[in-house]
């Protein structure tokens, strides 16, 4: 065996845990859901091929399909811009050279470490109950807080806030990008008398736009798949106002044991995310600036 071959083999060996995991836990289920999506399949019995039946049911008969899809899209439109703005805002504040700034950076990143965990969702629930901490806090300012979880117009927003609060990973990426912006650009513009706002829109934003694109895509994908928040905090209620698409997938798979139908639902979500991602990438030609011309 030549040295090169040996070296390649070593490389594969090192990443083999990931490859094996990917094949068994991602690629295989991915392929199987595609097959099952054309079947009537309830775990214990063998799947029966029914062609496009599941897809037809979904668009014509399932009364929860459109409402849950609309909820999910609302959720994405609420969460993603809010989260990115917030992450960028905090990143800019933390992009200063003062003593101990690392402590702040770590603190702001902390919520993201908890991830989309169940425990956090439970805490969120307690924070936003009618007599929870949030409304207690507001009452000090003589504001009568709304029913965060009980009002069908607000409940989805409350859950969206949980995700916004976990802005840390986007923030860190923004922070890294901000550090890369050459200082001479700012100095030159300051000599020309550009205002702070002008500098942000003409220098900062274009310079970090590739990173903005990355964050936008990642957060959009995440938001489309949101499950833990609505499942734990509101269970989809009140009046199904937080019944998102992933809950519909879960209910069909694990409450009604319609694995085939649930697989079909998953594939529609996959296609939807794919289309949205492609649209974002296509549009990026007009607003993302690459210093090296995108090469």
């Amino acid at each position: 065996m030549s040295y090169n071959k040996k070296r390649n083999l070593m490389g594969y060996l090192y990443i083999s845990p990931w490859i094996i995991g990917f094949l068994i836990f991602t690629l295989y289920p991915f392929a199987m859901t595609f097959i099952y999506s054309f079947c009537n399949y309830s775990i214990t019995k063998s799947p029966v091929f029914i062609g496009l039946g599941n897809y037809i049911t979904m668009f014509t008969k399932d009364m929860y399909f459109w409402p849950s899809l609309i909820n999910t899209i609302k959720y994405v439109l609420m969460t993603v811009p809010l989260k990115l703005c917030f992450a960028l805002f905090v990143a800019m504040i933390l992009n200063v050279d003062i003593k101990g700034v690392n402590v702040f950076r770590t603190t702001y990143y902390l919520p993201s470490i908890f991830g989309g965990s169940v425990a956090l969702s439970v805490i969120w629930k307690f924070l936003f109950m009618d007599n929870g901490i949030m409304n207690k806090f507001l009452s000090y300012f003589h504001i009568h807080g709304p029913s965060w979880l009980g009002n069908p117009h607000i409940s989805l927003f409350t859950i969206s806030l949980l995700s916004v609060w976990e802005f840390g990973s986007s923030m860190v990426i923004f922070l890294a990008a901000l550090k890369q912006v050459p200082n001479e650009l700012y100095e030159a513009s300051m000599l020309d008398g550009a205002s702070k706002i002008r500098r942000f829109f003409s220098i900062t934003l274009p310079m970090i736009s590739p990173v903005l694109l990355f964050n936008l895509v990642m957060q959009t994908i995440n938001a489309f798949q949101e499950f833990t928040g609505p499942y734990v905090i509101t269970g989809g209620g009140p009046m199904n106002s937080t019944y998102v698409y992933s809950m519909l997938i879960y209910d069909n798979a694990f409450r009604y044991f319609r694995m085939g139908y649930s697989s079909a639902l998953s594939w529609i979500l996959f296609l939807l995310i794919l289309i949205v991602t492609v649209i974002i990438f296509k549009s990026s030609n007009t607003w993302v600036y690459y210093e090296n011309g995108g090469r």
């Binding site: 775990i43 214990t44 629930k125 009980g150 209620g237 009046m239 199904n240």
Partner: protein, 393 residues
């Protein structure tokens, strides 16, 4: 394998080690946890052939389990099990599927009204009141008029669904959905039931859903109930010990019954069943243990009422002789058995239909629709859903 709370876990584990001591050749591995996702886990185990020998199941799952396949041994064919210890009617109504005895009932579970006596004393209500729909509404009105922050009933949309289904059942005398998947009621009756429910919301019998939303699905944990601002909780008697732990001064009554009811709608059913896995390698040993579990005096004394009031007369006798049974609970079970309605069929308890009901009840509670519209919506949705469910059988 079973689900339950700490008291049940401890008693069951104690019983198992007692059995192992008496039968040194038998080693029993226990698998236990909460009820959340238990059914999902069980079905996965059954389909992959890794399910345990003895399995606790719920009667409401039978239809769903049997639509998946035939997993359980016929207990009436096993010579080690003394089926005669149980009430035969009870077995016939709930434990047989396709003429096979699927499981043995661990206890008696009935629909009941939990009453916070302190609340009742405060408003001068007699806890021995026999409830009808009318006096329930009147009392609720009186309570809310006296104290704007108090509500007679602690109810989420699931409990409102009990009210709806029971109310209709008492008027019609039918199953909610008949065995042939047609509606057991007409539009007029259903509208009337929704109107009654709406009245309950209007007079302040039930805390507004916008306030109780975080406790949807767990009304027994609503602080309003725990702090004594609501006085009555319609629920299953099998959660008695859990409720008792929070409400010290607790009493029980039967749910409201219309004086002209064609059937009471009072459900008396097994708390759970214990079944034997058909593919088990140890069917005979499992049967011996199961028989001991239900009939041995020491076993009965160890297990007490952790699975509700026991389903065998012998066990009830042994426990009450030793003062191990709560008399409130047994009295209520006896009352319920006197008034019990015919068993509910599988389709009436279907989870998807229940979701349709609770969705519509929420719309009513949030005043998005009138009772008439609610009835229309429910009937129209059922007309679409029932043929679908039937074709999946």
């Amino acid at each position: 394998m079973w689900w339950g709370g700490d008291a049940r876990h401890k008693a069951t584990l104690d019983a198992i080690s007692l059995y192992e001591k008496e039968h040194p050749n038998v080693k029993i591995n226990a698998e236990y946890g909460g009820v959340t996702d238990y059914l999902q886990k069980l079905i996965t185990q059954l389909s992959s052939g890794t399910a345990p020998d003895l399995i606790q199941i719920d009667v409401t799952w039978l239809q769903q389990l049997f639509s998946q396949g035939d997993f359980f041994a016929d207990l009436s064919k096993l010579k080690d099990i003394n089926v005669n210890a149980f009430d035969q009617n009870f077995l016939k109504n709930y434990c047989y599927v396709n003429n096979k005895l699927i499981g043995l009932p661990t206890g008696i579970n009935n629909s009941a009204m939990y009453i916070n006596k302190d609340f009742f004393d405060k408003f001068g209500i007699d806890d021995k009141t026999v409830w009808t729909w009318d006096n329930l509404l009147q009392t609720a009105k009186m309570v809310h008029e006296k104290d704007k922050n108090a509500y007679l009933l602690d109810a989420d949309s699931t409990i409102c669904d009990y009210i709806l289904v029971t109310y209709v059942g008492q008027k019609t005398g039918n199953q909610w959905v008949k065995d042939d998947y047609t509606l057991g009621f007409d539009k007029q009756t259903l509208t009337e039931a929704f109107k009654y429910l709406n009245d309950l919301f209007e007079v302040g019998a039930i805390e507004p859903f916008s306030q109780s939303a975080p406790y949807e699905g767990k009304p027994d944990q609503n602080p309003m109930w725990l702090n004594g601002q609501t006085g009555m909780l319609w629920n299953w008697s099998s959660i008695y010990s859990g409720v008792k732990a929070n409400i010290k001064n607790l009493s029980l009554a039967l749910p409201p019954i219309d004086p002209n009811a064609k059937q009471t709608g009072i459900v008396v059913r097994p708390s759970q069943l214990i079944a034997i896995n058909k593919d088990s390698k140890n069917i005979d040993e499992a049967a011996k243990f199961l028989n001991w579990f239900f009939t041995d005096t020491d076993a009965i004394k160890t297990l007490k009422d952790v699975r509700g009031v026991p389903a065998t007369a012998d066990a009830r006798k042994i426990l009450s002789e030793n003062n191990l049974l709560d008399s409130t609970l047994t009295d209520n079970a006896n009352q319920a058995m006197e008034k019990m309605a015919p068993p509910e069929n599988g389709i009436s308890g279907n989870q998807e239909l229940e979701k349709i009901n609770t969705d519509i009840i929420q719309e009513l509670a949030y005043k998005k629709i009138t009772p008439e519209q609610a009835a229309d919506e429910l009937i129209n949705t059922y007309k679409q859903k029932l043929p679908e469910l039937k074709s999946q059988q």
